[in-house]
Assembly symmetry: C2
């Protein structure tokens, strides 16, 4: 990505020796729950987040910093709902309310909702179809004592933070995985991370501002923020993701007049399995980035849809696979620590999503941030999305709270880890077999859905008469001629007008069947050879026809 000289890195990316102090265990959460008694949350109940976290269990930590100086005029000026004062009176015993305009649940035309889902460990489509567990929510399960969440509540209006019943589960999950190192952290649900990103930008940015992100990034993020009049500065990356020293330099040398805007303070990053580069920042890199964030008083949006698509190490085509994590603890320790887990200042808003690990169509995610930030976010939610779909929340609640629990969900995530490891290995093995390695090079991805390949366009027979852009175009269209679709790297530049020196293609191993992944890479290899004037592989693959050697993993570039 950046020229090799710019790599600010360290050979070891192994993080298993990094101990998160004071990790919350499933047992601690279970014990606290047992002590707290039954959760009673009726229609549109306001959640008591501190109770869900354990009122005393975070008191030894410091408090988050205040971010008033970073909030946009829009966010600062949001007032609370004027009718909520009346809501406080609803607890008056014997009160009959003709106040709030909620329809009666009598008029929800649903008596039951059921889903058929995997028993723990029996994950395959066929096993679920043949032996899945059916979970049923009734209309009045709460009144009948059958559940603490039902259709009458879930299908009704709710609070901006989502239903207390499911929010508790999310808070506990966050505590188990990240245990934020400050006292007043909180969670609130989102209608998916794209919606949360849109709201976060409106919370921190105003027209004329700059924000920072990785030099290659998710185009939707750019398309979200640009219409707000906000400009995006792309920070150079290496194979370990965003380069903190270069970010420090950019910030230290920021010229407001030249840039026509103030020095940025908002950093949007995808630290794990980054889209499109697949890069995963090791823990040391994260600490360095966080240190630069402290130095320049940055606020960080940590967008982590791929966090649980961290995979087993890639061992190469001819070596045995690494066995799956032997326990939940080993699994959790294998995960790169999040920014949230090292955020002593409360300067991180972490965006979590179910889109990559349960189903994108749920449009349910959540953020974790300091209570000040969560409160502003909820306030915006109350006047925009209101809450994620209650139907989605009920489905997720039945699966995650009432069926799998935290433990079963970690089992599912380990299953996902192994499935993605298999898919990633398939595409890398196919690349080893079929791609001309003097032209195409890559770093094996450690997380996420994306395999990012650099193309040495200087080897094209018509270069330099033909420009890099034209070669990229030619190869893209030639791939389609060969019936395979990969994304152009140039579509992912954070700054479209930046001078480009490298050429990339992005392939995803998430969607296609594994036999199709291999075939698509075979076609891609043939397309590259054709474009670059190399002989076709006559014998099917590298190593059998002598064009390329296959010697384990393809080195870093």
């Amino acid at each position: 990505m950046a020229p090799p000289a710019a790599i600010e890195s360290y050979p070891e990316t192994d993080t298993s020796s990094f101990t998160i102090p004071d990790r919350f265990t499933l047992q601690q959460v279970a014990k606290r729950r047992a002590a707290s008694g039954k959760l009673v949350a009726t229609v549109a109940a306001v959640a008591d987040v501190d109770a869900f976290k354990g009122r005393t269990q975070h008191l030894h930590k410091g408090k988050a910093r205040r971010w008033d100086h970073r909030l946009s005029p829009e966010s600062r000026s949001r007032k609370g709902n004027s009718l909520k004062g009346a809501a406080g009176l609803l607890k008056t015993p014997g009160l009959i309310s003709l106040g709030g305009g909620l329809p009666s649940a009598d008029y929800f035309p649903f008596d039951e909702l059921s889903i058929k889902v995997p028993e723990i460990g029996r994950w395959s489509d066929k096993e679920v179809h043949d032996h899945g567990k059916v979970l049923t929510a009734g209309k009045h399960d709460q009144a009948e004592g059958k559940s603490h969440f039902d259709i009458a509540t879930a299908f009704q209006y709710g609070q901006g933070h989502g239903a207390a019943q499911f929010l508790r589960w999310l808070i506990e999950h966050t505590e188990i995985v990240h245990n934020p190192p400050y006292q007043d952290w909180s969670c609130t649900m989102t209608s998916g991370s794209t919606s949360a990103t849109d709201m976060a930008f409106r919370m921190f940015c105003k027209a004329g501002d700059w924000i920072m992100t990785e030099q290659f990034t998710f185009p939707t993020m750019i398309e979200t923020v640009r219409p707000m009049g906000v400009r995006v500065a792309g920070i150079p990356m290496d194979e370990y993701g965003l380069c903190p020293k270069q970010m420090d330099q950019i910030l230290s040398n920021w010229d407001e007049r030249e840039r026509c805007g103030p020095k940025p303070f908002l950093l949007y990053i995808v630290p794990t399995g980054q889209n499109p580069t697949g890069a995963t920042q090791p823990v040391q890199r994260r600490r360095e980035v966080y240190a630069v964030a402290k130095k320049h008083d940055l606020y960080i949006l940590e967008d982590e849809p791929y966090y649980f698509l961290q995979m087993q190490p890639y061992t190469g085509p001819n070596a045995p696979d690494v066995p799956p994590p032997a326990s939940h603890e080993e699994f959790l320790r294998s995960l790169v620590p999040s920014y949230l887990s090292m955020d002593v200042d409360g300067r991180v808003m972490r965006l979590d999503s179910f889109s990559k690990v349960i189903a994108p169509g749920s449009r349910v995610g959540w953020i974790t941030a300091s209570e000040q930030i969560c409160e502003r976010f909820r306030n915006h939610t109350d006047t925009s999305t209101q809450q994620p779909s209650g139907i989605s929340q009920l489905v997720l609640f039945k699966l995650l709270e009432e069926h799998w629990g935290h433990s079963g969900y970690l089992d599912w995530l380990i299953h996902m880890r192994m499935e993605y490891t298999g898919r990633r290995n398939t595409i890398l093995d196919a690349c080893e077999r079929y791609l001309p390695k003097d032209i195409v090079s890559w770093v094996p991805p450690m997380a996420g859905m994306f395999h990012w390949m650099e193309i040495d366009f200087t080897r094209h027979p018509e270069y330099p008469q033909m420009s890099m852009d034209d070669i990229e175009d030619q190869l893209f269209l030639n791939n389609v001629e060969h019936k395979t679709l990969l994304m152009k790297g140039s579509w992912f530049y954070a700054e479209s007008d930046v001078e480009k020196h490298k050429m990339y293609f992005r392939a995803t191993y998430a969607a296609a069947r594994t036999d199709q992944i291999e075939e698509a890479i075979r076609r891609f290899g043939a397309s590259v050879r054709e474009c670059f004037g190399l002989a076709a592989l006559t014998n099917g693959a590298n190593g059998t026809n002598g064009t390329n050697g296959t010697n384990g993993t393809n080195g870093t570039h």
Copy 2:
């Protein structure tokens, strides 16, 4: 509301004589569907809206006006998704895509989703519980030819307009009810009308702008738009809703310097069962408002959550009820024509919602507007909410498309009409019985959830030593002492700093059980009498103790 002298109205509010020209019938829609063949829409399919409307059936109409001059810089600057160009290539036969980052449906841990819902005409909770129909969606129903919508598609990422399968139903429903009188109308789904309102304001407004609305309005709307730096001008109302002549005067006399902002062009209205006043604009009022909109080149946001809570006429406590509509046609003719149905210019964005007639927790609604406006809206959706929950969409699809159909849904809406008529009659009968009518007066609501009562504060024994605001406060708190909660009218002013001459309370008859509604109004009557120093009702109700006569409906004020 406005002083009687300002009423711009007409005695007849009956609209049954108004014929919507060229109404689409259920039969026409069914015939078109049969001719168009099977709908095939796979993952994230782009909907062919014109096919759903009938490609030739609207060609005789004129085209909508363009609204470029009304779009905000934010909306104008939105670009299409840069990766969508590649999506066009996905139709290449035999192509294997490693392009889009969609997770495989193999990893959605759901095999089936079922809902138990009413058979047509057997609407009660008990009937549904005992004899409801169970509708089931499988994971691969589309591939297996069982349905044209399934878990594999609905739980996946989708288009900003929502799933084509369900969008078709919404477009047909819109055509049957409103049949917009211009050619290039379109629909796109929303994550509920609050979200759609937030997006619409960002589409048309920028900081420093003014918008217009009814002088009393839904506080969330104000709280949505004010943080954007947009100010709200409240237009006087009478019992028929917003007063067009006064709006015309305000616009004609707009002084940019005095108001520190340009003349407004965006009108937000709730024409039917308005919140909080319960006012419903008759068709003649709507035509006059539309004429003023043409004169001043306004764009109208028609927010209509209560449209299908139009009720049967109120006949008074001692007269027989009006029988339900005898047919779908009679029902549709009984509805006040929407602005959309008279919108020859395409200057209306109509916001529809399932919150009041199916379930608020679905967070699914839709807008209808010209294709230009829908395109800008979808573009914003792609970078914010993405789409409403696919789980909600699948639930609604199974119920509305596959089970009830358009016909069964109209039957359900007639049921809702009769239920709300009963509730409204309950509260009005209770008001007749228990309220001191020389102090409390009202107009029987024709639609919606709200009963709006004027309090003659000048009859308070301490007036004028005690201010109107203090009397309102006293009565509100005294109601709570009497264990009944009504909302203060002053919470609903569009302009909080306007001089107030009248005092109101809002009661909803939507939520409480009917016996509780009656009891709450009895308590409210006792509370008013206490505050205003009247003797308590000794014998239970008006007409039995001689304090007030009960002579049919309470007249207009």
